[in-house]
Symmetry: none
Subunit: 193 residues, 4 copies
């Protein structure tokens, strides 16, 4: 129980205020225990952070994994769009986890740099492959115009990255959804046959 609450609170605070910006006492206080209680469950601050971060990363990876394994009954257009909306859903449903992952993927502290790059590259490859498959399929189906696959993949990844950033610094739902749709519409205009 406490162990779980600790993770939850830690994930949120580490995501919002960063590792150094978050005191163990704050986490403990929110959970309703005294600081030393944390040490009954985690070796030290770094351990708590890593546990929480790994979990967040894992949940992100699982999400990507699922994305890449979805049944391909949809058209390429629908599938690609679905990628964006699923990413959006994930950010909404796992706000804390995604904030944490985003923060530490862009700004890793030295002691995390390696771990993070490793974990992230895996995920990145998985996503890249999934997108590539969708695009190739789309071309085979004649829905996507015959052109460089890497061009289409790079542009789509760029689109997703842009939306990631925007999700976290634009607060308005409407604005974000408009941005998402516009970005995709433009993309699709260039991609489709």
């Amino acid at each position: 129980m406490t162990r779980h609450k600790l993770k939850e609170v830690a994930m949120r605070l580490f995501g919002e205020k960063g590792y150094e910006g978050t005191a163990l006492s704050e986490i403990a206080k929110e959970v309703g225990v005294k600081t030393p209680a944390i040490y009954a469950f985690y070796e030290n601050k770094e351990d708590l952070f890593m546990t929480v971060f790994r979990e967040a990363m894992e949940s992100y990876n699982t999400f990507i994994q699922e994305l890449s394994e979805e049944q391909k009954e949809l058209s390429a257009k629908e599938s690609l769009y679905r990628l964006l909306s699923r990413q959006y859903e994930f950010y909404q449903q796992s706000r804390e986890a995604s904030l944490l992952v985003l923060r530490y993927v862009i700004f890793p502290p030295i002691f995390l740099k390696e771990t993070i790059e490793e974990a992230f590259l895996d995920s990145d490859k998985l996503l890249t492959n999934a997108i590539e498959q969708l695009i190739v399929q789309g071309m085979e189906d004649g829905i996507i115009r015959d052109q460089s696959v890497q061009l289409l993949v790079d542009a789509f990844l760029n689109l997703m990255d842009g939306l990631s950033m925007q999700y976290f610094y634009y607060t308005s739902k409407e604005v974000y959804e408009r941005k998402l749709n516009h970005a995709f519409e433009m993309y699709w205009n260039a991609a489709r046959s």
Copy 2:
């Protein structure tokens, strides 16, 4: 001299390791003075940070300002592409400043949230207007296909945001440049007449 060196080092360290992650003693050490010397120039840590952050933000704003004021002798396509390459140049030439701005625009500490949002929205508007003008001009010139201006603007801003993120987490120059060109190529394919 010292004042200037302090700002330089502070900007780099605050950008790389964040506000809480950077000790004044570290900054002082790199500059070659003792910590209390900092107080001869800045009121306190927050003051040093704000000075440095404001300067970084300003230099980003100036860059955007210049972008938006460029003589429009180029075609819309060239102008838009120039936006991307100038952004790239800025990131390269002012790596420290842009890292700092990026970090605190995405993850502002509570005490900065307001200041930053304000400063950033100005800049965002300026950029949006500049892009809009280019696009309208391009449409008038018949180079850009007649379509929703906001669509084109949103997509372009998204593209720039995506590239911002990618600049800081992909280390390879070649990869980044390919991503930039691919993203733009796709954009342009959808935009052009």
Copy 3:
């Protein structure tokens, strides 16, 4: 069972690393139980320490007692030598106990100072008496030269103390045995008729 193992481990650790240098958790870990289990057998750390220390002291006292009660069938020379070799044996067989006693006899913490001095003085007297008897006997037998008994006693105690220290800071068995024999040889040369 556990009670016994706790004492054993505690004696060793308290002897090696001192009272403050030894955490209850360490003791528990070596025994294979969790820390609170200790409280099923001992009131607190001090109680465990005192139990263990008292036992060590007792075992030392018993040893001294036995020494002093040995049947005096041997000659004075043999008896005195036997004192040294029995002390040596005791150090070897009860390494932990003797280390603990030595440590806290030389460096008693404030809360133990009195208890220890008391316990030790008893033992010291016993030993002194035993030595004195042997010497007096030796003189009566004409084996020991007629001279001040206190001189002979003091010197012999000094010899034993020196060997105690040396036992614990010289690791080599050979060296120690040589030292022991040499010290005794010299002593005897001065003592004998």
Copy 4:
């Protein structure tokens, strides 16, 4: 000033209560500063301890050095006796230093074991050589009876070790001096021609 007082107090407390038994706050309090002030002069507790310990060891080594270099105008007997009385003087004048050295030579914590053994063996050799020279000289002069040099050296070192221990656990000056004289008298009786 403070730096010096810190060393002084630290030496006494570390000697009396041991490393773990001494809190930095205690040291600071006695000196009349707050705990963090210590960090202006020493890196951390271990650094303070090592500085103080090294100094104590050095002062002991210097004393041994001086002992071994004394002009040999005295007879062997006087020289040997002088060794003991000089050791006594040293213990009296540098009570804190010698207590510290004694404590950590007999009971080194793991992190000091090597350093101490090294430092101590040097000193031990120096002393051994000095004693050996005195004895050889004494034999050449015909004052000391012709016999095994190692026997005489070992016994003398044993004598010194015994006196070291006794100095710290017998509080009375008179008793100690009697012990010293008796131990030496016996030694000399066996050594002299």
